[in-house]
Amino acid sequence: MTIVHEERTDTGAGIPENRITVTVNGKRSVVECEPRLLLSHLLRQGLRLTGTHMGCDTTNCGACTVLVDGRPAKSCTMLAVQADGREVTTVEGLATASELHPLQEGFKEEHGLQCGFCTSGMMMAAKALLDENPDPTEEEVRWALSGNLCRCTGYQNIVKSVLWAAKKLRSE
């Protein structure tokens, strides 16, 4: 493959490029990026994983939530270079080729989404919860999702979706 770079007469910006290795959804990639590149931009633009959405840029809305080494992280306020050597899971890593994750099923079953924009982040935050606590109470679900905003659904069905998934996971 050939990569063609346009010649620039002035490279005055002088921003150093960092070389990092990051594993996303089980696939290792070597990335060259500016140190200021946000993890969310690396995922969305660099790796074309557009299921991780960006809503607020200030770590409030949680639409960009992914798992980093299994812990939920808001990828809009994490630098890509901070993910060096770590494992990132995005919504695209939830389902296998043939099967949906119970959270994905639960959100559809319980009408836990409308516009779909917050959904990836909600499911990733919920996954982090269920990985630690397979049998959460409604209150624990609400607390675990309190870093994620939704404007359409009013949360009641989102909470039900997560409880639906928890039940299914326990029965598997």
Partner: protein, 796 residues
Amino acid sequence: MSQALDENKIGGLGASRKRVEDNRFIRGRGNYVDDIVLPGMLHMEILRSPMAHARIKSIDTSRAWQVPGVRLVLTGEMAATRNLAWMPTLSYDTQAVLATDKVRFQGQEVACVVADDPYIAKDACDLIDVEYEPLPVIVNPRQAVAEGAPIIRDDKENQPDNVIYNWEVGDKAGTDRAFAEADTISKLRLHYPRSHPSPIECCGSIADFDRATGKLTVYMTSQAPHIIRAAVAMVAELPEHMIRIVSPDIGGGFGNKVPVYPGYVCSILCSILLETPVKWIEDKTGNLISTGFARDMYLDSEMALRADGKILGVRIHADADHGAFFSDAQPSKFKIGLLHSAFACYDIPAGHLTARGTYSNKAPGGVAYRCSFRVTEAMFFQERMVHAAANDLGMDAAEFRRKNFVRDDQFPYRTAFGFLVDSGQPQKCLEVGLKAVGYEDFLRQKEEAKSRGRLLGIGISTMTEPLGAGNSREYDILGIKMFDSAELRVHMSGKAILRTGAKSQGQGHETTWAQIVSHELGIPADDVTVEEGDTDTAPFGMGTYASRSTPVAGAAVSMVSRKIRAKARKLAAHLLEVSEEDIEWELGRFYVRSAPDRGVSIQECAMAAYSNMPDGMEPGLENNAYYDPPNLTWPFAVYIVTVEVDPETGVWDVLNMVAVDDCGVRINPMVVEGQIMGGLTEAYAMANMQFITFDAEGNCVGSNYMDYLLPTAWETPGFELHSEVVTPSPHHPIGAKGVGECAAVGGPAAFVNAVMDAIGDTGVRNIDMPLLPDRVWEAIKYRRDISGAPPVRTDD
């Protein structure tokens, strides 16, 4: 032989069908505007004004041009050479695209940069030097009309002051007579605060001008792509067939994505200048401080009452703060939207409403935020006024409503302001709600709690609202009539594709429109693909806002399906070798009246349309329908909230919330309930915490999600929904009514009335929303009304 179908099994009307759009969203495979990448695409960022009102003395872009990777730095002066420094608004005003003379609100667009990546574009924006000369700032209508106030719109000829319009409706003389006869006159003033719809996805666009074909394609976050096409044709002076607007998946709209924003226009102009695709994705602060605000209305009213509790008349005055440009997307005839739908569920003989719109140094506002053009302000004020009037009379709030509701036998009922409310069962809905909440019990608990120093309160809000503009006689935007459309193409296998002029932003049209087709034709909903949002393929329509999709586009889906059925009937007659008059229809099947076993399915008819049509019949099975509704639809709703207020802190907790929505026939009950819960949450947000305002210098307070608090799963209370009352719309083809906004419209007053009831003994008449703890505490402590009007207080 074919059999009649079970409608629920094929996903027809009334089925809680799981949503088809979910299949991509749960996989992260939605296609939002920021997900789209075009070859050679560049990125645009906007430089915004830090000042609310200032003359621009100079703009120096030379340093920005020096940044490697910058392709264009665009200023208003350059846009003016293309006649694009200003653009028309949807309310016959003009709005600056990029400021040339002055900036008129904080966050106004001053320049933009196009670069190879968005980081470079942002860097370059920081290097644009703008010299401002500050001017006095106006942040409310009182300042706007004060003597000696600076003229904000000095760009306009014949604009000697800051008044945009004066408007009135109703019968002044008759209302004066009603007040002369009154035993009691009840008064209330309040401010419905500015609010931002704030979908989680911000606005954005990708403009792609192709010099070779002359065609402009714009992917953008628009709830109304056809209106945008008309506007772009006007502004960019391109012919309509050379403009294609595509709204891909939209991450929530709530009215915020109806207007035409400068960012869209800039991306178009930059693409034309650079002949390459240009993407603009707004950041959250840009969205919150510059795009369509809602509300910001000062309401002052009085109600004439007879001693027995009968309302004789109402007078309403509204002062609406529209910000720097009058850019509401609303029907042309009604300057202040449908504010005069206030009190439509009450039998009130006389009413008079006056309204004045003014400019201020705030972002353009007045969009219909989950609301049918100012109906939220109308219903909030109505229910706060009703609460106050019942108190003044010493009457029970439920009893006062019962006494004044339009009775079932009065429908269709003409209101004092001219609306024809065609249906409803107010009394029945109220009784369902009162029973569900345990009204009498709660009143006893409240008294008992009071004796122990605890403050419990109950708030009721009841309302009907006009949803589904048009009809075309009264409703147009820029002269374009507010009808809507559907086009249905049935393939030879009996599968189908449906396109409408609406545009879903989470409402689930891909699921529910197919259910209407299924209901009309017996084609399983899973066999119907629904597409919206591409002006090159969708029939012309006015888009989705103001709860108009189901009342207008949904009706068009019914009507086009019936046209298809009419043709299928001819095909069936041909296949069955009988005359058309001898044929009967049952879901999914035509049969011979005298021999019901002899029948053909709709799928067999579809195949015949392509393979075995009678002589002389035009082949194919497709059609379209443009639907102009005879009236609005009138859903009725009751919301009842119980709260406990902590007198020491002013914090209030919701104990219970009951919602009774009579929205006529429900196409998909699951989706309808989802809409209601979403609306209730926004109602709670407005009443409790969602606070955006301005200081005396016009700085926007609440310009990001750290300050503009939206409730999370943690704060949001649970809701109990009731659907047992169903009054079909008398004119909608399937009896459906709009519903998506009812809860956001009627809900806020229930919360506020509950808190006011809890602190009733203080004699406080009003606390402006949001009912922040400090406001409630101050009201209790000092026994005074609390205004939330800007400029925001700065406590030293």
